[in-house]
Symmetry: C3
Subunit: 681 residues, 3 copies
């Protein structure tokens, strides 16, 4: 994981980078000059160029038209604007589909899709792979020494999922490599259930339309395979770009809560994490979800600064109702990303399209032009960001980690579970929210990463755990860590096979108890959980509502800190608190209401000695980034009312230049942002 | 648009025509004689014959059996009943599908449908076209001089939508003819978005299953194409019938709120508009929707009388719950059609089937036979209609027009708009309801028609507007007209490309303002709009609730008559009132609650000097039809209670024969109907 | 219907049989010995073996591996445990699909499914039929004399539904045999509706994807065909097993409320009815539905004892929320089955799987092992059942019958009916509930069975009635029976053709009235029905709410006992009471609320002289089984509170051994069960 290319890049583009996707081919040349002028006015320093330009650059197989791109590259370079140049593989031109129909994706039903949208390619097609790499190579060779070239943007939001015969064949090959023998595959997939034992490789297929439920281990491997073959598309292009321009950083843009790609496996292959984020203004939890995603992006490469590669200046257009960002909220959201480690704020897209599928997706410069509130906000933010240039490359230091794990996501939402309406995303958000509300710094990790730096580890419904992961949690606690583990964790191994000897087979020693039976609650059922007298973690008056799930739980070494107060499990344990080695593990055997979960998590944080970054009223988020000698405090008022916060340190408000004394009463407007720089003491 | 055939027809069948679909092939011969007797009893004068008789008339390719049809034609002629003879192309026989599988329709997914329903044909199949025309020609030749033949009923409710290779090829040809060159197509479809530029015609396809959203200009052209190729099926048969029987009028039956066919383009090709209407008794707005549809049918051919070709005597069977028409409501609905210009009241069908898909669809003569309330109502109405014979050919004169436009329907419900749960139909109904409640005569037009006769023009969400249409609205206002334009109008041109220079590019001068940003509201959000002091159109106490949408609106020459009272747009304009030339335009930048919309529309009508046809209490609809020297006032009580109305003129109640003085207090029973004939003063 | 095999079987396995599905191939050999030990501890006497073992028994075409099965058969025999040996046709191995793709099922859309689930075979494939019979024959030959072999379990839960060309061809053949000529098919299908008359057999197809609604008579025949071709799969294997082991009973397991198979036609072909039942603990009506299904299972073979072949010890896993069975409820449900005639209580499955699709489906021995409440309950019940051994072979004697008819189910839920959201299942459950609440013994029959033994016959929405069935109901009443008939009965004949001369053509004489029009009510509409003075069946204060449906009903010989009190049918009859011959028929022309329906049904039972099995408070179910000289009273407390019941006889509580005097006050705990044995006096 050499960071040489990124260093080189940061030398060219210091501070917080500002910009967006640029699609000049949609506009006549007279607009291009205005674009560059307005970009300069808005302090745009980087544009993503050519993301969807394949058909404009290669009008027929092997017939290239780089003239217009030369021209725009020169124009941008002349304006001092750098380019994140795309390899345009995300949307192959119609000629490719017409000349080579096998390049088109096949749906699960067997229907081969047509052209007209985007992303309609088969990731296994040799022709697609050859042609997309050829144009990437052409671009690299042509612009290798162009002064505008700052970075490579490989493809766009990889999301291929194909069921064609070629993919089927590759899946078989992938399995053959993974398992070595059919016997091993049969054993680990458990094919004797429902009598589906394979006796020859050609019988093994990807999961097309079937009768009845499908083997879940096959589904899980298919998910792994899909992430892997897409990553392979990326790395192949990256390698050929690196061969030509070794100093230019290469990345691709990740997506929010995106199930298809295991970005924890992808991140080591990019030079910088680039992220597309579209929080829904209609979702009151949108900003918490964004914070979780930002922390994940930062954690993906061990805390390195990352880029917001796409966000919307205003409304998007793909949802049933597409709400605008109200005054101040785009700015607030941008600073929230920086507060969580972003060093670049970029938009899709620079200039709003007049036609096509995304013409009502907002842009930096919308149809309404320079008269709009939206443009004024874009303009102001671009210029304001210069004041926070010093934040760039600063890091976040977290004592708390929460688990987010793609393999678990795929497995825990599998078929025929005790509850089949389950959302892994909602569960992790709920647990993360408790940490976010406490204003502690959080890393987002999986259990195969090094956990030694953390004091608290939150493990939400980690159904799938390999032996190594089980060991990691046990070691984390034994070595003095504080774990919070919620129900339906430690149930199956990496082959989706139940770990024997009672639930949670993988964590029984850690939680100090076992589960005799899972007891889901009907969707309209609520039960009560109450504290048990004489334990340390929650008040004896603690009472919670629980929904959705109950464990029929038996305490072993664990102390019962809360029990069921009603229902047929009345009097049985609901929450355990176990000592193991030098650490502690709290186990939640049911789903507590959100305030009660937050109370419990705060108690664990307190016991572990984890302090908030800064005291703050509800609705005010505070984070911190540090360089070797400076600390930057980000204070963000997400509320609709003014908020007051008494500063715990002396420092300079970067956005106003004002020096603030310790004890100063900061008054934050709704959507207000204060960034305080202080020397590291 | 020669009306020669219709005049000939009206000479044979004067007055209000009564009748229905007749499917004698489902019944043994002994029933036929009873049918004719009962038809005569009910005053049936026209039957639609042979709509689904292809398989009964041509048992195998080229083997015709006209014997039974000869017999029934003679029997009907003997009974003095005329025939609207169908060409039976709507449901090809199984042998056609078996001998020529390419005649079967292909779904978007690529699945070729089977036989067993109806309408399962590909509209582009050469074999289908050949065979359906051959049997039409056989019928024309055989019955050209038959005394029963009064009219031709070509096909039935055209609704073909096929995705086969032959249709794909024709779509390509249609585009080639429209655009001339691929460059023109690329430019107008905006194919550079998402990199889908075509460089050779064979790459262009109809929109089959795809990945991601589809190019909206392609979708729009596909909608135009589908309407056109179906119309071409109709005109080809019409032409061959005309060649044999030039004096016999030809038509096909249109459907209610039917998205697939642009009946404004179809109407010039029929000799008379024929309409199938099934208002849902469970829908409280059903009668308003019916009125809108009736006004559309009348307007389609410039005010010519039209025919209800199908309605139900009682319940239908295709909905989740199929409610009966309660006592008096079938009669009331029939007179409502006449009140809006219909000169024929016909039913599907004469005798209820004993088997098949529609056996629980009511009929003039149901399974319950002559004992039923339903038959009594059919019998009574048929005989009563003789009393209103004088209404036939009378016209409606409207000073108000509302826009209904298929191209806009297709475009405004396209993908990736600010709000994607939008219903064009509901929007137009809501605007129309305001006019209907005011009891003013309304024409339903599109903006490519001559608007010079109208004083008020209502333009609901006319998203798509060609340059000519923009000009037409501007000229309408400049010349003294009063326009009401609602938000999201004048946004794109006929290629679904945003009109430049700010929203609404096409109407900025007309409305006297521009929109900086569209600001949809979440589905559960309501905001308040209130009048601004000192303007003329609404009271200063006017307050409305708005939902769904807000414009970030800037007044230019327009006067702000209402503003947002809350939300982040508080204090910004919600409704503008603009003077332009000799006229006025009121612009609604949000969606007002229905009563407020009605208040506003009434104010505009008042200012424009448009008066109700007659004063009436709520729930009572009044319309007028006129001949050269007579006027007919239709007074319809849709309410569940008695209603009283003081007559403004002297005249004769056609249904009772009573002479009524001006000032007479008419007492209308629930579902009551009064038709007053007066001399034109 | 010789019961020789069952007698032989009962000699080997007397009393109430206990056991479950056993899938030893999922476990290593060391587990097998523990299994046998624990089975013995739990009093398991029969296991279903090899249900999904095809791929484990035949690894490639013709390569058999019986070694492991030999071993486990011997082990079980050694432990005194009998085997219900399966022919493993329910889930063909992957090699069959790969070598012979035509063995895979085709969906209605035309998609051929892949392997990986189960039941993915085409029931018409010659290869599938050949190979599945070959392995059945191999098993029969190999284990014909094995001491463990007690019974044959042919296939599993037959549920094939295939649309391939081979099935299409067979459907055509089936129709040809049924109708003889195309003319007859055309006449009885009513193909002249929508012009779909066939003129050559190859034009006739099974109902693939189509345009518009499909011919309902074709749909109905397709339903008959699907049941028939699956039954034929079963009988073919049964016959070959019988040829080898004539003394061994053969069966297959039926499913609950399973629409695809007409088990009334299947039942004569099995030696004993075997039933899989999974009541949902979240459904408050679950136990009533179970009772109905149990009564159906008992009635299928004229009252013979039957087997619960599969139930769950705890939660299942296929529903959105899978609730556990709370303490005592598994035991209660098991005794409920015995109370309704079951002589075997078996489970899916013995040991919970560690992997695959059903790993969270509970089992007798769950992942939690012997520590669980669930295992304790399984263990206790297995041993307790010895005390009720005397119940085995005892019969139930019912004076009341309710109609459940698959042909009606298929037809009454057909397309384009007056109400299209109708559920036949819910309707029958609602009527059955009235009988269940009255604690009378009920047989579940269809109208083609002998009805002479019953005093009361309940006929819920029997839309389809052949002439014979119409006659049967008329004769039943004429001979002194009491019928309760609800609306939309007697409407069509067996070809789904409306019976002429007014509704209900088939029952007009029986109900003493006719229906002029069906008048469905919108889903949110309620109307009131009230008693008419001076009739005998209900109190004059009787008032009911009605929803969903009204008949426009005319009384003829029938007496109006309740009328509509509001709505446009106010004053018209709602319920008729008719005398015909020696009997009475009550006709419900609307859907009464449940308490009112129960009141009315109780009144009919009272008038017919039908008494409850035993007086009991609400929530307590009482049934009776009798042998030649003993009677067994089952008293089951389904409530959540204690219940008290004063015994009407002297007897012995089988579960405690206590002798109870007549008049004894039994105190039943929640979920409590008492079984009282008395001599037959």
């Amino acid at each position: 994981m050499s960071d040489l290319p990124m260093n080189t890049f940061r030398d060219c583009l210091p501070g917080i980078v500002y910009g967006g996707d640029y699609n000049p081919e949609q506009w006549p040349r007279e607009v291009w000059r205005e674009d560059v002028e307005l970009m300069r006015a808005a302090n745009v320093r980087l544009v993503n160029l050519g993301v969807f330009s394949w058909s404009a650059l290669e009008s027929a197989d092997g017939e290239f038209q780089f003239g217009w791109l030369d021209e725009i590259m020169d124009l941008l370079a002349g304006g001092g604007i750098s380019v994140n140049l795309a390899t345009p593989n995300a949307s192959p031109p119609p000629w490719l589909a017409e000349d080579f129909p096998e390049t088109l994706m096949v749906e699960r039903s067997g229907v081969r899709v047509g052209v007209g949208g985007r992303g309609h390619f088969c990731p296994s097609s040799e022709v697609y792979r050859d042609r997309s790499r050829r144009i990437a190579r052409e671009l690299a060779e042509r612009y290798r020494d162009h002064p505008a070239l700052a970075m490579w943007h490989v493809g766009n939001e990889y999301h291929a999922l194909c069921f064609c015969d070629r993919c089927d064949e590759r899946f078989r090959g992938w399995l053959r490599e993974k398992y070595g023998s059919l016997d091993e595959l049969n054993r680990r997939w458990g094919t004797l259930v429902w009598g589906q034992r394979y006796n020859d490789w050609p019988q093994v297929h990807l999961p097309r339309s079937s009768r009845g439920m499908m083997n879940p281990a096959r589904e899980l491997d298919f998910a792994r395979f899909n992430s892997a073959i897409q990553l392979e598309l990326y790395t192949a292009e990256r390698d050929l770009l690196k061969a030509v321009t070794p100093q230019v950083p290469v990345t691709t843009n990740f997506m929010q809560f995106f199930r298809l790609n295991d970005y924890q496996r992808w991140a080591p292959e990019v030079d910088v994490v680039a992220f597309d984020i579209y929080p829904d203004p209609a979702d009151p939890e949108g900003l918490v979800k964004a914070a979780l995603q930002y922390d994940l992006m930062r954690s993906l490469r061990g805390g390195e600064p990352w880029m917001v590669m796409e966000q919307a200046a205003g409304a998007v257009s793909q949802w049933p109702f597409n709400l605008v960002k109200q005054p101040g909220r785009m700015r607030l959201g941008s600073y929230q990303a920086v507060a969580h480690g972003a060093d670049a704020i970029m938009f899709f897209q620079w200039r709003q399209s007049r036609y096509g599928q995304e013409k009502f997706h907002s842009a930096m410069l919308t149809h309404g032009g320079q008269s709009t509130r939206s443009w004024q906000a874009v303009l102001a933010l671009g210029n304001e960001l210069d004041r926070v240039a010093g934040v760039a490359t600063a890091r976040t230091s977290a004592e708390v980690a929460i688990v987010w794990d793609w393999e678990n996501w795929w497995a825990v939402e599998g078929c025929a579970h005790p509850v089949n309406t389950y959302s892994y995303k909602d569960t992790v958000v709920s647990h993360y929210r408790a940490l976010w509300a406490a204003n502690v710094a959080v890393d987002v990790v999986n259990l195969s990463q090094d956990l030694s730096q953390y004091r608290v580890l939150v493990v939400p419904n980690q159904y799938l755990m390999s032996q190594d992961q089980q060991d990691a949690v046990r070691r984390f606690v034994e070595n003095g860590g504080h774990a919070v583990v919620s129900y339906f964790s430690g149930i199956v191994n990496e082959d989706d096979q139940v770990i024997p000897d009672g639930y949670p087979g993988g964590l029984r020693q850690v939680i100090g108890g076992h589960v005799r039976e899972f007891s889901p609650l009907a969707s309209d059922t609520k039960v009560t959980v109450r504290a048990v007298d004489g334990q340390e973690l929650v008040e004896k008056t603690f009472t919670a509502t629980a929904t959705g799930w109950q464990d029929d739980l038996v305490a072993e070494s664990g102390q019962v800190i809360a029990e069921h107060a009603d229902g047929y499990l009345a009097g049985q344990p609901a929450v355990l608190d176990n000592s193991l080695g030098a650490g502690r593990a709290v186990y939640l055997g049911t789903r507590l209401d959100q305030p009660s979960l937050e109370t419990l998590v705060r108690a664990v944080l307190g016991r572990a000695g984890v302090r908030p970054v800064h005291a703050a009223p509800a609705g005010v988020e505070v984070t911190e980034r540090r360089t070797g000698d400076r600390t930057f405090l980000f204070i963000l008022n997400h509320g609709d009312d003014k908020a007051i916060l008494r500063l715990d340190r002396r420092g300079t408000d970067l956005l106003t230049g004002q020096v603030l004394d310790a004890g100063h009463e900061l008054v934050l407007e709704p959507a207000g942002v204060v960034i305080v720089e202080s020397p590291l003491s």
